[in-house]
Symmetry: none
Subunit: 217 residues, 4 copies
């Protein structure tokens, strides 16, 4: 029993060790440029060992996203657990949560956004793919819940809330990716990502109030 447990824990530790190494490698090289040997070297393991814990390169890459998706979902659920708050406060909590998620691990967050668009997802094993889908969908649903009560007491329809949630999520990913590209490619030294995100969310926050009114007319 104790042995069983210890082994499981050690196995999980190895997975984390590999994920951490992969994170470091992917932060300097893209999925295609990074080789399994790079990752193995970084993890101080042999290439073969990685395959004991991850089915293949793509699954390892996709697994990176799991952690941040889990963190994201927890943060969003926490926002929703503060039930008696005003809509304004809930929205403020939401924006804070998103910025925290970014700061939790920018590199992995960006790789997750890239994963979203890539063909890689299509060849993932069903288990891992559905896990990712589940977390992503749940997160968006949680965001939708935050928009439950329109700021003016107007109740948003189910449809609108989902739409707003998706747009909010799109705004988040769009800003992060664009600022990242500015930093890495356009060679801008200082990118005020946090400030830009705050402004973006502020605009969105004001925007939905009026949009709510419009849509309910």
């Amino acid at each position: 029993m104790g042995i069983q447990e210890r082994k499981e824990r050690e196995g999980e530790r190895r997975r984390q060790q590999i994920i951490v190494a992969a994170r470091r490698v992917f932060s300097s090289k893209s999925l295609n440029k990074a080789t399994m040997e790079d990752i193995a070297r970084e993890a101080e393991l042999s290439p073969g060992t990685i395959y004991l814990y991850f089915k293949n390169k793509d699954e390892l890459y996709a697994s990176l996203s799991l952690r941040i998706l889990q963190y994201l979902l927890i943060r969003l659920q926490h926002v929703n657990s503060e039930k008696n708050e005003t809509p304004e406060k809930r929205y403020a909590s939401l924006t804070r949560a998103m910025i925290d998620v970014y700061e939790f691990d920018p590199i992995i967050l960006i790789s997750m956004f890239n994963l979203q668009t890539s063909e890689t997802l299509k060849t993932l094993s069903p288990g891992l793919l559905s896990e990712i889908k589940k977390l992503a969908c749940k997160s968006i649903e949680e965001i939708a819940v935050i928009f439950k009560q329109g700021d003016n007491g107007e109740v948003l329809t189910e449809y609108n809330r989902s739409l707003f949630a998706e747009i909010f999520w799109s705004l988040f990913s769009g800003v992060v990716l664009f600022q990242e590209s500015k930093k890495s490619i356009l060679g801008e030294e200082k990118v005020f990502l946090k400030k830009t995100l705050q402004t973006a969310f502020e605009i969105f926050g004001y925007g939905i109030k009026d949009t709510t009114l419009t849509q309910n007319k």
Copy 2:
């Protein structure tokens, strides 16, 4: 001279022929899956010929984006040329322009967004890279110009306008990429991209009005 000109025109025609073929290939395969031979076959040329017109695969890929960036810039300049319009009308023109750009060539637009984040850009030849940068920056500047006069007569600072423009651009790319990923990966049948974009721009439009007020206080 006449001969020189004809040659140049014919050369340009070849480039377009290759770009069109590449577009078709990239629409069904991602950058990494598509081979130069695929593109050559599609263009009814030999692989070697492509290298007469494009330095390498990445440059060919990046060249795809040039066309849509050019189209985008022209549309944005057109919006700004309607000088006496009200801010509301100008914003409406802007949103229409963006949706037109999407519909002009969704595939290339998406590939351009992907290019933005990819490592590919880093290895591009200086000439092509600066051409892309120039078009992208000009476009964002044109968007900023559209925001010149705040909707309430308040004049936005140069800084705010650029920030808003970037956020607007981020929102555009975020929505397009997210909806695309919904379509291709989550397997959603119908994705209402146009509707989602309109709503997103509506929210943004309302949002900046109030944000303007706040920021100028």
Copy 3:
């Protein structure tokens, strides 16, 4: 001593357990496709344990052949022990013995024939290799002994008997392998291996009578 014996017996049991598992695995996968882990799983042992009983994969594979070679030799010796029988009856016993050997374990028999031609044998440990050689040579000698008295009372020379024995053995392996290939590759539903073997042996039986006459002229 008693302990020593018990250990040896248990060791032998383990070897058999592994051989049985290997047999099952090789029946569905060829030598190259089957992995040591497959065999370990089938034997409900760990990969490492197999190496306590067999030096390496090739030796394990070769060991499979030992059992059937032992069975073959015993059957052939039995045929020769029936001393007073007529040549015809002895030949009939021989053919029956060969068919029994086939039916004893077709899979291993075939793998033995394949082993014969493969490069695998060259890297076997001297002990195992000489064991296999010894059994194979003895078996062929026993067949030669069966041909001792030509069917017409003519006495075959030592040389002829060995030659006939080898040809008989070749015929056996040739028919088994060819029919096997018909079954597995040409996709023939029913292969009448037993009937074919009987006819082949009948032809051979008649043939050597006349050949004997010719050669002694």
Copy 4:
């Protein structure tokens, strides 16, 4: 036109060049031990070039057998074209043909027999597989035709002729493989393959006469 032809001829020459190199490599190493790089080096080409002419390693290996199967079929058809010959003379021609086939290229003949039993065939492209099947089946049919008129004027049934042809073929492969294994593994210096084959065919020749009589009773 002339260019087209020359290119085709050069292409065919390359294929032959690769096949010749592969033959040399496979004669000293088994299919599994020989690497594509070995073959490329032997052919003084790069690994990539081989893939321009052969789909993969297995197809290259299988292609080796095509030539000898073609040669075999031609020889057998030639035997059958000598229509007025006596059965005895036709059988003598048959045995001579088989020995010639062996001497035409022993190495490839053996590799063909090994191919017959291997799993390799199962993954071949349908075109190549059916080409091999076709040649093999036709050859056996030609052998069956040679047995058309039983040596005693007795007419063999279609069924018997096919059976005899298969057994004859099996005998051939069995003898060749066994003698080969004697040479390479048992370390016998001189193997009298030709003599053994002749004796085997003599036995078979005499044997079918009597078997024919028995079967027609």
